[in-house]
């Protein structure tokens, strides 16, 4: 089987830089990481210098994702040999135990870490993930709330909590978590869009208005967010179809919905340019928009 460097004709430095980019931008493309990383550590270990330890960590987590226990074990051995008493390595040991579903052992390990260092956030978060893996959502929510009371600034945790609340259909609390995220990351269009979706799901005139506004904000931050564009169309149609709104509001919303529909048409037009079936797909888009039209029953 051809190696990555032959397939793509890249040098080991490029592979290392690609791994760094994935690490810094928090990608979860585990299979690619395993492919690239495995080759890097088996062929070019000596050239990597001190970078190798963080690559071991990255590859180990990706290997756990892909069920490659052999690779995970060898990476873990190297790390344990180099950093015998490290909390960070203990977390990786715990993650491997979790992957093998030995949750009791993993919990004991994390408890020992927390006894040693009560401010260690990684161990606490892993314990919450264990609860989630076991399907104990309410317990996970409770633990996560306690965690967030002390570490108010942990954005990853706020996001996880919003996801848990959405799974439990507690949309008001999910909206609260997303508001925290929107405040700390005002330029992230994805949080605006998720918040708008939660508001849309909650329903009710006020929430629908908020949903429309936040869909529009998401679009303003990133013009190419198709999901937000559809969301804008839907929320505006929803408000316009409601019989209890004033004429002005209805007119405004019809205008917004029409604008959104025209942009959707334009996007599909651009997507299909140069293709023969464009005319048929444009007709399909028209029909789709028609079918999404809200009518009050």
């Amino acid at each position: 089987m051809a190696s990555i460097s032959e397939l793509y004709d890249v040098t080991w430095e490029e592979m290392r830089d690609k791994l760094r980019k994935w690490r810094e931008e928090n990608y979860r493309n585990s299979e690619q990481i395993v492919d690239v990383g495995e080759e890097l550590i088996s062929e070019h270990a000596s050239k990597l210098g001190d970078d190798i330890w963080i690559i071991y960590e990255q590859v180990m987590i990706a290997a756990l994702d892909c069920s490659r226990d052999d690779l995970a074990w060898s990476c873990l051995q190297e790390l344990k040999r180099q950093f015998p008493d490290s909390h960070r390595v203990k977390r990786l040991v715990g993650m491997r135990l979790e992957a093998l579903e030995r949750y009791e052992d993993a919990n004991k390990l994390y408890d020992s870490v927390l006894q040693d260092d009560p401010t260690n956030t990684a161990a606490r978060k892993r314990k919450i993930s264990i609860l989630r893996a076991q399907g104990r959502n309410t317990d996970a929510i409770r633990e996560l709330n306690e965690y967030l009371e002390q570490f108010v600034g942990d954005q990853e945790a706020w996001h996880e909590l919003s996801e848990l609340y959405i799974n439990e259909h507690d949309y008001a609390k999910a909206a609260f978590c997303l508001e925290e995220l929107m405040m700390t990351n005002p330029h992230n269009h994805l949080y605006c869009e998720q918040y708008a979706e939660v508001k849309y799901t909650q329903g009710g005139m006020e929430n629908m208005e908020l949903a429309r506004k936040y869909f529009a904000q998401a679009l303003k931050l990133n013009n190419r967010n198709m999901r937000a564009l559809f969301g804008l169309y839907m929320s505006a149609s929803h408000i316009a179809a409601n019989t209890k709104v004033s004429a002005k509001v209805k007119k405004d919303n019809v205008k917004y919905a029409a604008w959104a529909a025209s942009q959707i048409n334009r996007a599909y037009q651009l997507a299909g340019r140069g293709k023969k079936e464009n005319k048929c797909s444009m007709k399909a888009v028209e029909e789709m928009l028609e079918s999404m039209h809200i009518t009050m029953s």
């Binding site: 690609k18 002390q150 506004k213 904000q217 997507a271």
Partner: protein, 261 residues
């Protein structure tokens, strides 16, 4: 009075000026590594971490509160600033000012600081004064009054010599402060060889102790939050958005990179 231009032996430049620069620089680098070795771990308590994060959250609420709906902003402001049980009103942290006598770790820290910084400076200054004495080293480019003579011309007993001509000891002190920027270039910011910063720290030492300030920090945040109003940034977002067509470039699969590399 016309001041005679003294011509200094160029050997002075070679054997005095440059060695002093090297010595100062190397001593600074050694000091940096020694301070790293002697550094003790600072362990933060859970409460300190939590408090610092709460302060950050309150600050973010003030700065970016305009991105969330008015109701949510008011809800959070109420949580922090409420008269009876708002967080900033309710929480009083036990404040123990970390004076050197009561806190043993502070005492050892101070001693280590003194040993690594002040002591070498005094020793080396004295050694240079003793070795390179009896001659003029360099001239400062600006005129000085006679008052500076005994200070800057340590080993030279000439009454008529202009105060601008200085001895090697003063050249050494000039170096100690001048090489500070070189240290940040080579050793990175926050290095142990940065003497003047350490002296500044010592002078304002008592006022800088963070734990003692938690209550004051809370009070300051409370006041700042009271003053903040909510100006919703999304008032006219639809009008802004729909004033022009969407920019859809780069969205389609033909244009996107595929594969790993």
């Amino acid at each position: 009075m016309a001041e005679p231009e003294l011509l200094l032996d160029s050997n002075i430049r070679l054997w005095v000026v440059l060695p002093i620069v090297f010595i100062t620089f190397l001593v600074g680098v050694i000091r940096h590594y020694v301070s790293i070795l002697l550094q003790s771990d600072k362990k933060l308590t859970l409460e300190q971490v939590s408090d610092s994060q709460v302060l950050i959250r309150s600050r973010i609420l003030r700065e970016n509160g305009k991105y969330i709906p008015k109701q949510s902003f008011l809800m959070r402001k109420f949580y922090f600033n409420n008269q009876d049980d708002g967080f900033f009103k309710k929480t009083k942290r036990k404040v123990v000012p970390p004076s050197p006598m009561t806190d043993p770790s502070m005492l050892t820290d101070m001693m280590k600081g003194n040993v690594t910084n002040v002591l070498p400076m005094i020793l080396i200054g004295g050694w240079i004064n003793w070795t390179f004495s009896g001659f003029v080293t360099t001239k400062v480019p600006f005129p000085l009054t006679l008052r500076f003579k005994p200070m800057l011309q340590q080993g030279i007993e000439l009454l008529s010599l202009d105060a601008s001509w200085v001895s090697s000891a003063s050249w050494y002190f000039l170096n100690v402060f001048g090489l500070r920027s070189m240290y940040s270039l080579i050793l990175g910011q926050d290095n142990g060889a940065d003497q003047s910063r350490i002296m500044q720290d010592q002078m304002s030492g008592a006022a800088m102790a963070m734990p003692a300030d938690t209550n004051k920090a809370f009070k300051a945040e409370w006041e700042a939050l009271e003053l903040t109003d909510h100006q919703w940034a999304l008032e006219n977002v639809e009008e802004d958005l729909m004033s022009k067509d969407l920019d859809l470039s780069g969205m389609f699969s033909k244009d996107l990179p595929s594969g790993i590399f």
